[in-house]
């Protein structure tokens, strides 16, 4: 049900592939609930996290996911700015691959960087966020979180609010949401909401109140403060006046609305603390689910073909929850 060598984006994944990945992730979630949070599935394999951008949540999540599967992990934090002087991305990756990791996880400020590696190096690649393109593991964990709360994604109305132009989280999420049958609304100022988004079959709003009217889920996006310098916004404060998710504006949404945020949050700018910490917020569930999603992907990509059958049976024994074992390939 998922036979790809790399996990580069949500784009191009079928509904069935997405549902399979989600059910895989759901079956892995249980491991993190145990007293001993570890299975031997990826023992003897190495996962390299190659991060060219600062990240706490995603890098830690991949690392914990790998460790709970008993893989060895190596974290490399590189400054992309040194690339022009030093080693190219491709050379760095080729050197790392020469040490035979099972999976290379990469985050990079350039859109398409994981695709470059997938094309030119011989190792499964997971995209942990590339430029303003995609952040596909984030979308999976968001789908998992919505499913856990709402059951089905099909038929829901989801508003994504903020800097749509530059958001890789928004791109991956709107692809996943539409593939799974949700209605998507994009809400933001026109400078950050290009009209071409219409081709994705989404509705667009520049007015927050009407954008949130009757929605089931609200995803707030992080506002990068440097957008002000490039004249996308007069000021962060003015952005907050129009687009901050406050308890007041949230009254427009459905009563059981879910509040999501990919983090890190700018409290008081894109989201009010009362909302972020309030009863509708599932922001920390997102983080918890992130580990399960990444465990599922690392498992799938690290145990390719021949090995997969072997690892599958070992894992099936490890997982006491038989109902989930059925979801395994």
């Amino acid at each position: 049900m998922f036979h790809r060598r790399h996990f580069l984006g949500i784009e191009g994944l079928s509904r069935d592939e997405l549902l399979f990945l989600l059910s895989m992730a759901e079956s892995f979630r249980e491991i993190s609930e145990r007293a001993v949070k570890k299975v031997p599935t990826l023992r003897g394999k190495t996962v390299i996290n190659l991060f060219y951008e600062p990240s706490t949540r995603t890098r830690t999540s991949f690392e914990i996911a790998a460790k709970r599967l008993s893989a060895d992990t190596v974290n490399i934090t590189a400054a992309a700015s040194s690339v022009t002087k030093g080693e190219t991305l491709l050379d760095t990756a080729r050197n790392l691959i020469a040490m035979r990791p099972a999976v290379l996880v990469i985050r990079h400020p350039s859109s398409g960087a994981p695709h470059l590696l997938a094309r030119l190096v011989d190792c499964p690649v997971i995209n942990a966020g590339d430029g303003t393109h995609e952040h596909p593991t984030q979308a999976l964990l968001d789908m998992m979180t919505i499913r856990a709360c709402k059951g089905e994604i099909a038929g829901l109305t989801v508003a994504i609010v903020g800097d749509l132009l530059h958001s890789r989280v928004a791109r991956s999420n709107l692809l996943a949401l539409t593939a799974l049958g949700a209605r998507v609304r994009l809400v933001g100022p026109p400078t950050l909401l290009p009209p071409e988004f219409r081709l994705w079959g989404v509705e667009m709003y520049t007015d927050l109140r009407s954008g949130l009217s009757g929605v089931d889920v609200v995803m707030a996006l992080r506002l990068q403060r440097e957008r002000q310098a490039r004249n996308f916004l007069p000021s962060v404060e003015e952005y907050a006046r129009h687009f901050c998710i406050t308890p007041d504006v949230l009254a427009e949404a459905k009563e059981d609305v879910l509040i999501m945020h990919p983090g890190p949050m700018n409290r008081g700018i894109e989201i009010d603390s009362q909302v972020a910490d309030g009863p509708y917020s599932v922001i920390l569930d997102q983080v918890t689910n992130g580990v399960a999603v990444r465990m599922a992907l690392l498992y799938l990509l690290a145990t390719q073909e021949r090995e997969q059958a072997e690892a599958r049976s070992a894992l099936a024994q490890e997982l006491p929850m038989r109902r989930h074992a059925e979801a395994l390939p």
């Binding site: 350039s110 398409g112 470059l116 030119l120």
Partner: protein
């Protein structure tokens, strides 16, 4: 030394000639264009052009030869080897070398390298501004004395409207065209491909059509103001084509060129982060491709020029937004242009006009024709020969083509410059 080229079909757009003719070349010039069979027993050397097209050598008014300064990408020698293999007998090379060709010494150096290479004619284009900085006029007169054929800050759009005005005025003294790279750098804003749904989906920063349109509009206004000769390089948008059409209708001295990649490819070539589809201006949408083709058809666009821009593999096998802008084009231009004939857009003669006499006239040069007395720059090609492009086999030092693996129809068999064979498909034919 005399050569007869016999048995071929001569296409000489400058003379509205298309038909079976034999050609007599003596002392490096065209001596006679005669009915077939009438030059029997003449010529120390004879070239059998049966089934082939015999045309004036192609002229590319927009290439980057990278020498001096970037010899790892291309040299005058390798660039002209690529040129003659592609049927080009003259190439106008842009000034963005290191040092910049903004003074007579650099111009002289380039011409010395061209003499040493002794293949295609090399026609240096001088910088418009010192160091391509867009601030002060370069010493254009000094470069004219050494032999520049145009001025241009190609690669660095001139954002200062007053500087552009003065350049147009000043160059009129030398009857030099000012070739312009039309991209408002603020609107382009560091973009790496065409702005639109594809860029949005790929998460790449887009360059709107308006970045070209506003600059074309400004420079047409300045051509009107000054009476200067404005040549608009690598037109890529439908809006620019419309503005140029209007300027020509008004009678302004405005000319324009388009590259083969801009009339062949759309932005979809970027899919998969293909850095060999990254260039400035960017590949646009299908409506723009149709518009530039319309411009070629109705004469709004005078010339086909390659913007041959060699880059080393290490500058292309990188993240898309870090990759160098540009593609090589000298060895793929003719078959791509011939596709326009196959599509029925233009006659063979009309296509060759845009590759020969039109660029020659824009640059004020005596090439691009087979008129008796003209320099014997000739290309002989097989319009029906099918072949497949292999990037690694290109003669250019750089292999950055978006057409790797494409099937082409039309292949150069011989190229002559000044009556000397400088390229022959079969090596043993060299040195005639």
């Amino acid at each position: 030394m005399s050569i007869v080229i016999y048995g071929g079909t001569v296409v000489d757009p400058a003379n509205e000639l298309e038909g079976p003719r034999d050609l007599l070349i003596e002392d490096g010039v065209i001596r006679a264009v005669a009915p077939p069979g009438s030059l029997l027993g003449v010529g120390e050397s004879r070239i059998d052009a049966s089934g082939l097209i015999v045309a004036p050598g192609l002229i590319d008014m927009h290439v980057h030869l990278r020498e001096p300064g970037y010899e790892y990408k291309e040299t005058v020698l390798t660039g002209t080897q690529a040129a003659v293999a592609g049927g080009f007998t003259a190439v106008a090379c842009m000034a963005n070398t290191n040092p910049v060709n903004d003074n007579g010494a650099v111009t002289r150096y380039i011409l010395e390298r061209a003499r040493a290479a002794n293949l295609a004619r090399v026609l240096p284009v001088g910088a418009l501004s010192k160091g391509l900085k867009g601030e002060e006029l370069a010493e254009i007169g000094e470069m004219v004395a050494e032999g520049i054929v145009a001025v241009s800050d190609d690669g660095c759009p001139v954002m200062d409207g007053n500087l552009m005005r003065r350049a147009l005025e000043y160059c009129s003294m030398f009857h030099l065209p000012v070739s312009v790279h039309e991209e408002d750098v603020h609107l382009a804003g560091g973009g790496v491909m065409n702005e639109g749904p594809t860029a949005l989906r790929l998460g790449l920063k887009g360059i709107p059509n308006a970045a070209e349109e506003v600059m074309v509009a400004r420079d047409i206004a300045l051509a009107r103001l000054t009476g200067g000769r404005l040549h608009i390089a690598h037109v890529s948008t439908k809006e620019a084509v419309a503005l140029i059409r209007q300027a020509k209708a008004e009678g302004l001295a405005v000319t324009a060129e388009v590259t083969p990649h801009h009339f062949t490819l759309t932005e979809s070539a970027v899919e998969g982060y293909n850095t060999n589809a990254k260039m400035a201006p960017p590949l646009r949408r299908a409506a723009d491709v149709e518009a530039v083709k319309d411009g070629l058809r109705d004469g709004t666009i005078d010339a086909i020029a390659t913007d041959h821009a060699p880059h080393h593999r290490d500058e292309k096998e990188v993240e898309f937004d870090r990759a160098a802008y540009g593609v090589v084009g000298l060895e793929t231009a003719l078959p791509l242009a011939l596709r326009l004939v196959e599509e029925g857009l233009l006659s063979l003669s009309a296509v060759l006009r845009k590759l020969t006499v039109n660029p020659a006239r824009i640059l004020g040069l005596p090439y691009g024709t087979l008129s008796p007395g003209a320099p014997a720059d000739v290309v002989i090609f097989d319009p029906h020969r099918r072949w497949q492009v292999e990037a690694r086999r290109l003669r250019s030092k750089s292999k950055n083509t978006p057409f790797d693996g494409w099937d082409f129809t039309g292949k150069v068999i011989w190229t002559l410059v000044g009556g000397r064979v400088v390229y022959a498909e079969r090596k043993e034919e060299m040195g005639r």
